[in-house]
């Protein structure tokens, strides 16, 4: 009983112990915030990567793709193992291309992009596409067709250009010659639509610390020219597309490189009939079936030069890198708590010296060595628990309000703490996992107790007579 009372009194009366509590608290809070933010980034990244790649991908070895995807899909669905496990499938064609547009001053800009031909309806069902298509201000349904108004406007504009051409003064001809036959009215070709990555169409500019503005170079309805190669002969082919939306997945790599067009039209442009390069597959239960399905698919398409991968395997190195990064960061951050542990060791040693006479008194009154040791171990436990408790509260609060805190810091320091031009997330993503909080707490309290063992042992083995005589 006396152990509890003395632990509590020592905690209340030793202000030095506050230093221990604060150091444990800061260590715990830092670990919680950093882990939550890292998890947030990693979860968001995984989500995006997963969504865009769907669950399992069958891809061809080269840019030529493979023919008859419909037949392949039918074969998959007919398989007794695969059929019931698959929710949806969609063929896509990915190919590199040059995108060209004009600055407002007329200067041409050319940049390399990845053109992905999709069927907007089919691809929409798969997830990871439909939810990221925006016009300037809001989400829209993905479509490569121009709206009726836009179509009419486009036609009017084209006719006007045509008329301008025809109004050229006719070349003088010798009198008596019959007038040349009028050229038949050429059919006006309406451009196909394209959904371009948001970072191709715009760039981000700092307006104020912590605030960025998107400046658009390509507006809906403006034209771009995409140049790619045809399927068999590799001759350049190009066409004009009109912007019908932006792809805004908040994954800068995708948003800065991807252009989506209609699959049918891309096949036609590249003279590839019905060939596709990728077959995306969405499973009913990814966690249960991913491995089995990819093995079954590999078997099904044996000898057809197709690669079957789950999204995780495709992005393996990146995901592993994130995990390793998180592990190393945790080790480093735990060193912070270890530093706090040494603080506890030093401060406890001082407290034991200061309390030498009290230890002698307690022993004279019949307290055992073990009892004296438990006072100081209990004290360490209490300090650790209070520090970890306060640290958890602080850490959770900071994690939940991280964006406000970041805004506040940016305002005070006048610099961007979280540069939205780099990360391209509007909010700092966080993922506060209760298990991680518990683990950090257990670790911190464990370290506090561990580092109080030495001073506690010293207290326990103090000679009572010498302790009583201690001045």
């Amino acid at each position: 009983m006396y152990k509890l009372l003395l632990c509590w009194r020592y905690l209340k009366t030793r202000y030095l112990a506050m230093a221990c509590i604060i150091s444990v608290m800061l260590g715990v809070a830092t670990l919680i915030v950093v882990n939550s933010v890292m998890s947030g980034f990693s979860t968001k990244l995984r989500e995006r990567l997963h969504a865009l790649l769907s669950d399992v991908v069958i891809e061809s070895q080269g840019m030529e793709g493979f023919s008859d995807p419909k037949e392949k899909m039918a074969r998959i669905m007919a398989d007794p193992y695969l059929g019931p496990r698959i929710e949806a499938m969609s063929g896509t064609m990915e190919v590199f291309a040059m995108l060209q547009y004009r600055w407002p001053n007329g200067e041409p800009v050319t940049r390399p992009v990845k053109v992905i031909g999709v069927d907007p309806k089919q691809r929409g069902v798969m997830g990871g596409f439909r939810e990221y298509v925006w016009n300037r201000y809001e989400r829209i349904e993905p479509s490569f067709e121009l709206s009726t108004e836009r179509r009419e406007e486009f036609e009017k504009h084209e006719r006007f250009l045509l008329a301008l051409e025809q109004e050229q003064p006719e070349e003088p001809r010798p009198p008596g010659d019959p007038p040349p036959p009028k050229a038949p009215p050429s059919p006006i070709k309406i451009s196909e639509g394209a959904i371009v990555g948001n970072l191709i169409a715009s760039f981000r500019k700092d307006v104020a610390p912590g605030k960025v503005e998107e400046v658009y170079l390509l507006n809906p309805g403006e034209s771009i020219i995409l140049t790619t190669v045809s399927g068999q002969r590799m001759t350049p082919v190009n066409d004009r597309f009109e912007i019908t939306g932006y792809f805004k997945s908040e994954m800068s790599e995708y948003d800065a490189n991807h252009v989506f067009v209609s699959l049918d039209y891309l096949q036609k442009l590249r003279t590839m009939d019905d060939r596709v390069t990728h077959l995306l597959i969405k499973l009913r239960d990814y966690n249960r079936d991913a491995e089995g399905v990819s093995i079954a698919l590999t078997k099904l398409f044996e000898g057809e030069h197709l690669m079957v991968n789950t999204w995780e395997k495709k992005q393996g190195p990146l995901l592993q890198a994130i995990d390793i990064e998180k592990g190393i960061l945790n080790v480093l951050l735990f060193l912070i708590i270890a530093v706090a542990g040494f603080g506890i060791l030093a401060i406890f040693s001082m407290i034991v010296t200061e309390k030498t006479r009290d230890i002698g008194i307690l022993k004279a009154l019949g307290a055992s060595n073990g009892g004296v040791m438990k006072i100081f171990l209990g004290y360490g436990l209490l300090l650790g628990a209070v520090g970890a408790g306060l640290g958890s509260a602080l850490g959770c609060w900071l994690t939940i309000h991280i964006n406000e805190v970041e805004g506040f810091l940016s305002r005070i320091t006048g610099t961007n703490v979280f540069d939205r031009k780099i990360y391209y997330f509007d909010q700092i993503p966080t993922d506060l996992q209760p298990f991680m909080v518990v683990l950090v707490n257990v670790g911190a309290i464990g370290i506090a107790v561990l580092f109080s063992v030495l001073p506690a042992l010293r207290a326990a083995f103090l000679h009572p007579v010498r302790a009583l005589r201690y001045e």
Binding site: M1, L6, T13, A364, G366, G371, P464, V465, L468
Partner: protein, 252 residues
């Protein structure tokens, strides 16, 4: 007095090391303390008075010799049993009071009880134990100071609290190490009166170390230590030679 002594020390030897130097404090000390006796031990500083008390209450171990409590040897008992003896059989009063500064008077008095009880049994008996401790404090004249911390008490008050603490587990023997050494003579007298009263009324056996001869007059028997041995021990304090020893000591 032919009955078995309550507490006896036989041929005690104790040497301390002070850095490289060895200091022999006790050199064959023999002493018997009988039940109900109020014994005072006098001697110059360094004569081994405090060391003798520490050995008697098993706070330290003799290099040679033995301590007996009612005929049972206690100096070589296992640590847990010695802890228990200090907690229940011996009460100890120090020259510098040695109250715990973080606790108030009542909590200080309750400390031996708290050491004796587990958290659970303490919790069950808390009310009763607190009441008893408060009564003890009242008895030593500190009824109005229960919630005061040691630093808010005077020297005399602290020593009274220390006496109450020593008594709380109803010990068989009270060992007092210069209980008046740090107090003015008036307060010192009051403390000795309290001890005298405890001895007379309750038959509490007290061994008091002091170098104040005047105070030793109040006790039943006086023993003088010289160089780690009992120089003169007189069982009857009222015999002539005992008075002569005291007189001789006070002249010296």
């Amino acid at each position: 007095m032919n009955q078995q002594p309550l507490l006896s020390a036989v041929n005690l030897h104790k040497t301390y090391r002070r850095s490289a130097e060895k200091v022999q404090v006790l050199r064959g000390l023999d002493l018997e303390v009988h039940e109900g006796e109020f014994l005072s031990v006098i001697g110059s500083s360094g004569s081994g008075k405090s060391t003798m008390l520490h050995l008697m209450c098993t706070l330290d171990k003799p290099d040679d010799g033995a301590i007996y409590l009612e005929g049972r040897r206690i100096d070589n008992l296992p640590a847990a049993e010695r802890d228990q003896l200090r907690n229940r059989t011996f009460g100890f009063i120090f020259q510098f009071y040695h109250l715990l500064p973080e606790l108030n008077a009542l909590e200080n008095v309750l400390m031996p009880q708290m050491i004796m009880h587990s958290a659970w049994s303490w919790w069950k008996a808390k009310g009763k134990l607190r009441k008893e401790a408060a009564q003890l404090l009242e008895r030593v004249g500190l009824g109005h100071r229960l919630k005061h911390r040691p630093k808010e008490l005077s020297g005399g008050e602290m020593q009274r609290a220390a006496i109450a603490r020593a008594l709380v587990n109803r010990p068989r023997v009270l060992l007092a190490d210069e209980p008046t050494g740090n107090l003015d003579s008036q307060t010192g007298k009051q403390i000795v009166e309290i001890l005298r009263d405890l001895n007379r009324r309750e038959g509490l056996t007290i061994v008091m170390v002091t170098h104040n001869l005047e105070i030793s007059h109040a006790t039943d028997r006086v023993v003088k230590l010289v160089e780690g041995r009992v120089e003169a021990a007189v069982s009857d304090p009222f015999a002539d030679n005992s008075q002569a020893v005291i007189r001789a000591a006070s002249v010296a």
